[in-house]
């Protein structure tokens, strides 16, 4: 029949570009990282995020379908610096033998206190300067994994990096205009270390940066005293820790709620912080507004 | 007064007695005897409604007579932090209900009941420190206080010394003379059953009513027959 050769030709035509432009199956540890990969990879990457929107990247309970996704992945992205302690076991269990890209490679790390111990602060992406490094590492990893689309990745990557750099500058200027004495923020999650360092903002919080340690009365009392002393009047609730504790501290010290910040997780699609760029813009704008 | 309508008693749908037919007349004093496992205690519990019958029914008159139950020691929590006085005062439950107080008159009655069973010196002791016989006497004192029309006693004489036995039988006889209906589960002890005008003997396959002095007894239409004495 005549249709058969036509069908064969058509499928051959379709197969050729498909063979050339393969899709990279990527798995990212959490939503922020997944968003970065998606922005750079575009239509040549399919990303799955293990820790979903509003989730906590420090403590993650994997399900069998996560192991499955890993086994079938071409490339795995983690943020690194000790945050994804759960990833090693998951990789081993899933049998994934490919490359695990550490997106934070090459940044200047900082230390912080957790439960009396000094550890490396893993929340590097909250400083847009580091964000540029993340994006660069992601871009290079994608190019290495799928060289045929190098040009595509490079083009998207550069545009994205330019956007991030511009955001970094904007944030620096915005905060510089606020007098230093007023550049203080109370939030229940200590994940803004790099942010504070980069943009000169001083953060206070009631618990250590790990979301699952429990507060002692002396911690809480100490913070209330400090707030009253420093005359802070705005606080921010994270989207994954106990808001009642923050409210308790605030009512004792006279401070009010300033809205939500998003340091560790993006919102669902359609929410006010559903991309890395939007989350950053939101965080900075809200903080600036609260300092006025 | 208590009519048995083809009653079969047991646990979880398993009957342990044959069909029982008959009546415990008002003011009767019946010994319920039989070998271990013949269903004596089960029957007693079914009579006052603690357990549902496997088949058949029990008819009690209206208004329902007041019931006093004497438990086996195994059913009691002896280490509970009560005093003997409190234990006996429990007998006033029917009269006092949930909130009624124990006034001076009632307090006096409790002490009198304790004296009657010769346990007055032990009023402040805890039941866990009493011997079997002593505890039984205290439980009898509670029975006296309850002043009920129907007395159901589950093996009240097991492990009791002979002095106590005499005292307790005397108390039961007293209650009987006062017009109470008594049904008492016993092991088949000739000396004891001699004190009971009516006897219902149970075993796996048939039951047998007998009456000591030829007076009114339960109707013995039970399977396998039985003799009217």
């Amino acid at each position: 029949m005549k249709t058969l050769p036509v069908m064969l030709t058509l499928s051959a035509l379709m197969a050729a570009p498909a063979a050339m432009a393969q899709t990279v199956q990527a798995v990212a540890s959490f939503s922020v990282l997944a968003d970065i990969v998606e922005n750079i990879g575009g239509e040549h990457v399919v990303v799955k995020s293990l820790v979903g929107p509003n989730g906590d990247p420090h403590s993650f309970e994997p399900m069998p379908k996560d192991g499955q996704a890993l086994a079938q992945a071409d490339l795995v992205f983690v943020s690194g610096l000790g945050m994804e302690g759960w990833m090693d076991r998951l990789v081993a269990a899933s049998g994934y033998k490919g490359r695990t890209v550490v997106a934070s490679e090459g940044i200047n790390t900082r230390q912080m206190e957790e439960d009396g111990k000094t550890v490396t602060d893993p929340h590097a992406w909250n400083s847009m300067q580091n964000g540029v490094t993340y994006a660069t590492n992601v871009m290079n990893a994608l190019i290495a994994a799928d060289p045929d689309d190098a040009g595509y990745f490079r083009q998207r990557g550069s545009a994205y990096i330019a956007q991030l750099t511009q955001l970094d500058n904007w944030a620096q200027q915005a905060f510089a205009q606020v007098p230093e004495a007023r550049r203080k923020v109370l939030t229940s999650h200590d994940a803004f270390g790099y942010f504070g360092q980069r943009y000169g903002v001083h953060f206070l919080s009631p618990v250590g940066f790990s979301t699952d340690s429990e507060a002692s009365a002396s911690d809480v009392a100490g913070l209330i005293t400090q707030l009253k002393k420093e005359k802070i009047h705005l606080y921010f609730i994270e989207n994954q820790t106990d808001p009642r504790l923050v409210q308790q501290i605030a009512s004792a010290s006279g401070a009010k709620s300033g809205g939500e910040l998003y340091p560790e997780a993006l919102t669902e699609k359609g929410g006010e912080a559903d991309s890395y760029v939007k989350a950053f813009r939101h965080n900075v704008s809200v903080m600036i507004a609260s300092m006025k | 007064m208590i009519v048995l309508n083809r009653l079969v008693v047991g646990y979880q749908q398993q009957g342990v007695t044959p069909e029982l037919v008959g009546e415990f007349t008002r003011g009767s004093m019946t010994a319920l005897v039989g070998a271990n496992g013949s269903g004596k205690s089960t029957l007693l519990k079914t009579l006052c409604g603690m357990i549902k019958p496997v088949s058949g029914s029990v008819s009690l008159p209206r208004p329902r007579p007041s019931v006093a139950w004497l438990p086996q020691h195994a059913d009691i929590e002896r280490t509970f932090p009560l005093t003997v006085f409190d234990l006996v005062a429990m007998g006033f439950w029917r009269q006092c209900g949930w909130f009624g107080g124990i006034n001076r008159q009632r307090r006096q009655q409790v002490l009198e009941a304790l004296a009657r069973v010769r346990m007055l010196p032990f009023a402040d002791a805890s039941p866990g420190t009493l011997s079997g016989g002593q505890l039984q006497r205290v439980l009898f004192a509670r029975l006296l206080i309850q002043d009920a029309d129907l007395l159901l006693l589950d093996e009240p004489f097991s492990g009791v010394d002979s002095d106590t036995l005499v005292l307790l039988l005397e108390l039961l006889a007293e209650r009987h003379r006062a017009g109470c209906t008594l049904i008492v589960v016993l092991h088949d002890m000739a000396t004891v059953t001699g004190h009971f005008p009516q006897v219902l003997r149970l075993n796996e396959h048939h039951s047998e009513w007998s009456c000591r002095d030829g007076g009114e007894a339960g109707l013995d239409l039970s399977r396998g027959g039985g003799a009217r004495v």
Binding site: D242 | P71, D75
Partner: protein
């Protein structure tokens, strides 16, 4: 005066103390009765059975007192009722059916909370936020506590009778004994639910049972035991909060740790059966 100072200076300390004391007063008498009726582990089981109800409340309305509380009470009562029914109509005894239902309930609760995405919230539900007790929480806990005490006083007499001699009430009527048992279990569930807002599901049963177990060593009479239990729990609340403040310990666990410490002291030195109290009497007798 440094012990009292934190309570004067900080509202959250006062509120935490009031919440704990309210619980100490209403939950510990229930604990004493659980102990005397040989139902100690039932308290523990019920505190876990409560979890899926709280989880569902949480899934619907987040960390809302009313939603989680109502859900918790329903779940706890359901498990209690189901266990009772199963043990009544099947060969399985009450402790075994309880074990089955509460374990299933706990697993269901963990699953439900995990579904929402964060195990952090699970930890808050399990461990509570004693330092986050605010004015509405206090009102709720105090209201529950007062009502619970009132209801306990109402059923006191039949409860005592039934605990000592279960045959007594059931011989006289079919419904008194199950009614009292039902009200009692309801009170236990309600107090556990009130407790988990403050101390979490794992810890609230500690404040209910530990002082009750300790009270055995301080009095031979029921009224004495009830009073001792309440006093011990109050003391544990106070010292636990002090320890949290002065030694930087997490607050909820500190309170229960103090209760446990008092328990050990009671075993060793309690006047009614304490190990060393007995020895002293023996050596005095020898002299």
């Amino acid at each position: 005066m440094t012990l009292i100072e934190p309570f004067i200076a900080f509202g959250f300390m006062r509120r935490a103390l009031v919440a704990c004391i309210a619980l100490s007063l209403s939950a510990t008498p229930l604990g004493v009765f659980l102990l005397l009726r040989r139902m100690s582990l039932v308290g523990d089981a019920l505190s876990h059975a409560v979890l899926p109800g709280a989880a569902i409340g949480y899934l619907i309305s987040g960390l809302s007192l009313v939603a989680m509380g109502t859900g918790g009470v329903i779940a706890g009562l359901t498990v209690a009722l189901l266990s009772g029914a199963v043990s009544r109509f099947t060969p399985l005894r009450e402790d075994a059916s309880f074990a089955g239902f509460y374990l299933g309930s706990l697993a269901l609760g963990v699953t439900l909370v995990s579904l929402r995405g964060s195990s952090v919230d699970l930890l808050h539900v399990l461990f509570g936020s004693l330092l986050a007790v605010d004015a509405p929480s206090i009102l709720l806990v105090s209201a529950i506590s007062s009502l619970s005490l009132l209801l306990l006083a109402t059923i006191y007499r039949p409860l005592v009778i039934d605990a000592f001699d279960p045959t007594f009430l059931s011989a006289q009527g079919r419904w008194t004994s199950p009614l009292v048992h039902g009200i009692f279990l309801t009170l236990v569930v309600v107090n556990l639910v009130a407790g988990f807002q403050v101390l979490g599901t794992l810890m609230s049963v500690g404040l209910m049972m530990l002082p009750a177990a300790s009270a055995r060593f301080w009095s031979r009479h029921l009224s004495g035991m009830l009073l001792s239990a309440m006093l011990l729990a109050t003391f544990a609340s106070f010292s636990g909060l002090c320890a949290s403040f002065n030694l930087s310990l997490p607050a909820g666990p500190a309170v229960v740790l103090c209760a446990a410490f008092l328990f050990f002291i009671s075993i060793l030195f309690g006047p009614c059966g304490g190990i060393f109290a007995g020895r002293r009497i023996l050596s005095m007798a020898k002299e």
